[in-house]
Each structure stands twice: as C-alpha cells, then as structure tokens.
C-alpha cells in the first residue's frame, strides 16, 4: 500500500493522476523512496567587469551562485566542486581567456535556511560535508563566489565557464 501510494503521488506530478487512478498499478512499479533534488537557483554572474581591476563576488552576495538540495532529512551530503581556472571569451578568437580563482571563503553551505549569512564557510577546492535539514525542512543550500582578474589587454566580449558541484549521498 505504501509503495502504491508513493507511486501514485509521483505520477500525480505529471498531471496524469486522473488517468492512472482508475487503473491497476503493476507489480513492476518502481519503488520510489525519497529522492534527492539538486536545483540551480542562481548562476554565478560577475556582470560587467573593468580591465585591470580584479572583481570578487562573495558567496553572500546577491549574484553568487546558489544551489538548493532536498532529500532525506538529516542526511549527510558530501559536497565537492570541479572548478575552472580560466574563463573563455566566447565572442573572440580562441585563446582569449580570463583567470578565475576561488579562495578558502568562496563557498558556504547551510541547512534549512535560504540565507548564506550564518552558514558554514568552506574552501570549494577542498569541499565539505553538508547536511540536510530536519524533517520539517529537509533542505540544504550551497553558495559559491570567486574572483576574476581581467587583464589590461583583455578583449571585450562575454567570458564564460562551468562550475560543477557534485553531491554524494551516503
């Protein structure tokens, strides 16, 4: 019964619950226990930067990158990052790049509360073990900032790169 209820709830998400409700649920039904959702709430956006002037975005800033993780209450989640060292100008000839760096205070994680102030600061190059919130609010939030250093001779255009966050469930 429990498995059936879980499956029906899942099907209900797609708006097809009514179509399914009258039919029998196959014994082959996937047992859907609590899953894990990682959502990108906000990308890391430096906006317009000035040649020769390093620009730092703190993880507490409004334009820091942010993820929300939901899953099993109180679960430990290993957080690790794959970080770029160079950003590429997608509008210029190949080879036009800009350095980007991350420091020991460039990332924050926090249970339950969607506010980086008061969260646990960590070095994204090292990673951390975060924790989802208690049953009433089984979320965890992760923020990331960084520093870009555009050279005086940097070519105009849009510089982009990828930050990969890996979350490992026990």
């Amino acid at each position: 019964m429990k498995k059936t209820l879980l499956l029906v709830m899942c099907v209900g998400l797609t708006g097809r619950a009514a179509a399914q409700a009258g039919s029998s649920v196959s014994a082959h039904a996937v047992v859907v226990t609590v899953g894990m959702t990682i959502s990108t709430l906000r990308d890391l956006n430096f906006g317009t930067v000035i040649k020769g002037v390093p620009t730092t975005i703190l993880p507490t800033a409004a334009n820091a990158g942010e993820w929300q993780v939901s899953g099993s209450a109180n679960a430990f989640i290993v957080i690790s990052f794959t970080l770029p060292t160079q950003l590429t100008n997608i509008q210029a000839l190949p080879g036009s790049t800009m350095p980007i760096a991350f420091s020991g205070i460039s990332a924050i994680w926090r249970r339950s509360t969607n506010n980086p102030v008061g969260g646990t600061v960590f070095d994204p190059a090292v990673g951390a073990v975060g924790r989802l919130g208690p049953p009433s609010n089984f979320n965890m939030y992760v923020w990331i900032g960084g520093t870009v250093t555009p050279a005086l001779a940097a070519k105009p255009g849009i510089y982009q790169g990828n930050v990969v966050v890996s979350l490992i469930y026990q």
Partner: protein
Amino acid sequence: MMRALGLAGMLALASASLAAQGVMVAPHAVFIDHRLRSGSVLLYNPGTEPVEVSISTIFGYPTTDSAGRITLDTLLADSTVSALGWIQAFPRRLTVGPRERQTVRLLARPPAGLPDGEYWLRLVIAAQAGRVPITGVADTTAIQVGLTLEVRTIIGVNYRKGPVGTGVTLSQLSARIVGDSLITRSKLERRGNAAFIGMIRETLVDSTGAVRGQRVGDSLVTTFASPIGVYVAMQPRLASAIPHPGLPRGRYWLRYEVVAERDDLDPTVVLKAPAVRDSVQLVVP
C-alpha cells in the same frame, strides 16, 4: 508514511521553485538482486525549462578522512567488489522536459562464476541547466563574465548475489563538548559481505538519568540521529548542538548506538543486523 510525506513535500517545494533548474533523482540508492539483474532510477524535472542529463558510472564508496569527514574514495586499490565493469546505465544522455519524468535503466551482466556477495558502483547523474543570462552585449567594448553551474548527483548502486549479510563493530568512542556543540567520534568496521546501511543514534543523559535535549535546526530532539553507510571502515565525526544556555556543570553519559534501520529506504533492502551500543562519560567543569 513519512517517506510519502517527505516525497510529497519535496516535490511540492520543487514545483514552487519555478526559477530553479535541476532534476530530482529517486531513489537515492539502488539495490539490484542477482535474480533480476536490473534496476531503474526515476528522473523528474520540476522546472519550466528542459534539463540535459548525462549518466555515467564510477567505482567508489564512502569513507572518512583523518578529521572524520565523510568522503567518497574513488582511488581504491581493491576492486574485487566493483561492479563497474558489468553494470551499465541506459540511456547515457537524455533531455528531461519541463514537468516530465524519465527512467534510467540499469542492466547487469555479471561475469560467470561471480562469488556470492555484494558489489558496488556509483551512478553519476549530471544535469546541465541553461546558460547564464548576460545582458548588455550590445556594448561591444564591455567585458561580461558569467559561470554556468552544473550539478552532479552521485548515488550508490548495490548489487547483491546469493546470501548476503552485514554487521558492524563499534570501538574508540569519544565525546566532548566544544562550545555549544557535542562532538563525537567512533570507529566503525563492517562485518559480513555487504555494506552496513543504518543509523547512528546519540542520546545524552545527565547524572540523574534524565535525557538532555539536543538541537537539530530549530527543533529540540531527545536523540540525535544520523544516516550512515559503512562499506569497509570509517571513523565519522558527528556534531550536534546543545541548546542554550548549555549544560550545567556535572557528569553526563553519551549513549551511542548503531542500528540497521533507515527511514529513507525501503525496509526490504536494508539488511538486518544486530545493533551495537556503547557509552562514554563527559564532564562539564
């Protein structure tokens, strides 16, 4: 029922976050029986934009570093318990449309003569959200900088053949109060031929035998519980918060137990094993 409520709540939350881009992965642990040799993972996109997903597999399992932090060890010399070479995931690439769900199938082709036991790998689900929206591109002299964030969810896949059993031993238990936190450390070693999937429970009692509450988020709990997976051995460091204004002077006992129970997993996949218990005294000067 708790699992049902948890899933419903999580999905409701996901639906409410219209701006968010990501994918829900369920279940967060896959157990494959040798008689069936297949499994599946459901992906659901709660967002309003399509999400590109790629699937890969690695071998590794949780362990702890010297500070007791849990890490995923992927540089393992002993790969006799690896299922990496013979479990495959299909499809490897897919696009999950807005509010759509798709299934990733796991197909096992174990080698002939595979000994009874449990074999492991990790499934990596990488989801790529949209590109960074950068404005002001009409200004051809400006420099615009943005980074796209990609997420990877890494879940365990446990393949079981024949009789499997598990257990855990507990030793080197220690506890101390640091500031407003209760810090514990113990050594856990797996027994049997399968991973020990369970919970650590910690209860703090004073000299009268009364249970002292611990704080978890905004809640007060009498027992601090933490999910744990002991694949070989680990020495986890746990920290819970002591409610304000802290503990009065005196002697306390920490009761520590490791049980083969998990609320977040189907009970049929959690291998039964005897609970192990220990306790240690703390003195608040």
